[in-house]
Symmetry: C2
Subunit: 281 residues, 2 copies
């Protein structure tokens, strides 16, 4: 199978590596506005050939859009305009309502499968790509009833070859759940980094004292704005909803401390500890 990957960064690159390892694909066209990324992906053997948009798409059985979510939304209709009924398109974006709505009435809608692999790191670019990234994680497929059976089957095979298990969801639910489980973590982590950078002027002290706990909580704050601003923008209402709740939860800690109400503080912590059982299911 020949495929095109549009956007050969962390996710696109990781998918490429895995599908080559599994012999799912034998040729990968790399398409990217960023020439450095493209050259790097070629020299790392992530893609087989650099391609321009039209040529890559024309020669591919499957086109994977792995750009930031705002570009993906613009690119998808253009890709659908170019393909036949024998070709399939999938994306890998972290928000799904916007992209699904953008092609709702497109005559080639059924050739598209909306996909979101529940994996990522704070790193970016093809050099950060890892073949085994996805193993054991969930791969969410949204609005599957809007995709043609053969397109859906092809993407399910890809999910399987990535060693992921598929979960099915509608795009609206996906965007609500990911606001809770992924997007708010990033805002928390960015805000925590800004708090420490604002209050702790001795950068050397941060470095020296930073324990594994701090590094773990602040890890996502390294994530790039090119990817995350569009996600927050597209999932604005859900993110705001969860952010308001988060601020109100922090206020409970503040109030417990201010009032020396340590029984309440303990209650808040005991409740938070419940996450242990849920994550260790």
């Amino acid at each position: 199978m020949k495929i095109s990957i549009i956007g050969v960064g962390l996710i696109g690159g990781s998918i490429a590596l895995k599908l080559k390892q599994k012999n799912t694909v034998d040729f990968i066209y790399g398409i990217d506005n960023n020439t450095d990324n493209l050259n790097e992906a070629l020299s790392l053997n992530i893609i087989s050939e650099k391609a321009d948009f039209e040529n890559g798409i024309k020669n591919s059985d499957l086109i994977i859009i792995a750009t930031p979510v705002d570009s993906a939304r613009e690119i998808l209709p253009e890709v659908l305009n170019l393909i036949s009924d024998q070709q399939t398109v999938m994306d890998v974006g972290s928000t799904k309502s916007g992209i699904v709505n953008s092609v709702k009435d497109h005559p080639k809608r059924s050739r598209f499968v909306a996909f979101h692999p529940m994996w990522g790191t704070e790193n970016h670019g093809p050099k950060s790509a890892i073949a085994d990234s996805f193993s054991g994680k969930a791969g969410v497929i949204c609005n599957r009833e809007e995709s043609a059976d053969d397109a859906l089957q092809l993407v399910e095979n890809i999910v399987n070859d990535l060693d992921m298990h598929p979960i099915y969801m509608n795009a609206e639910d996906h965007d609500i759940h990911t606001a809770y489980i992924s997007h708010i973590s990033h805002i928390t982590s960015y805000a925590l980094a800004n708090t420490v950078l604002e209050k702790e002027k001795e950068e050397d002290t941060i470095f020296q004292l930073a324990s594994s706990g701090f590094s773990s909580t602040v890890r996502l704050a390294k994530s790039h704005p090119e990817m995350w601003v569009p996600i927050f923008k597209q999932n604005k209402d859900n993110v705001l909803d969860v952010l308001n709740e988060h601020i109100s939860q922090l206020r409970k800690f503040k109030s417990a401390l201010e009032k020396d109400n340590f029984e309440y503080l303990e209650e808040l912590i005991v409740n938070a500890n419940r996450i242990r059982e849920i994550l260790n299911q």
Copy 2:
């Protein structure tokens, strides 16, 4: 050398394992109000013998207090009352001003060295102890000028045997820095867990969708209240100060989103990204 460890949990147990591995100590008395912990520590070969408070202390060259910080503050003067000028006492608590002040005028003050190893996990109890936990981390020694030279030297040797590097600081500065770098991370993580538990009623969805990013940010929310309530209590003013700043940083994200001010959102993220360089020094 014979030592007593008062509180054979995660930290006390990990120190015991490492010091035995290094042959720094040949006998460890375990002292703990929690009989289960004590029996577990004995069966895991973490301690050599269960001891009562007075007997353990009497027969030890070094006494390590590794209880939650509120108990440590009560226990320390009692330990100092029992020891000679040939014995040394150290603690491992995450707050330092309280404990240092509690023995400021004690006639045996100079036998005590205030210590805080910058390592911990969300787990607890002797079964979670790991010998190599401390390797490469900072070990903070506070108010060293208040300790006798030989007591300080002994603790510095212990720090060395734990494969840590010593950092010297006064207790007030320590409590300010750890509020920034450790304590606020825990509150953020607890509040994030409570946010998700409050908003996401489908626990199965949390489990299925939780990516490594979420798990990493929420990891500290598994930490036990027995340890953390006393820390927040003893470091209340500093923690409140940082918590207020954190809430105000989150409000900036909220405001940027509400006003569709995506340039500002990007600025906030670019600023947070600076943590990458600091942590990767």
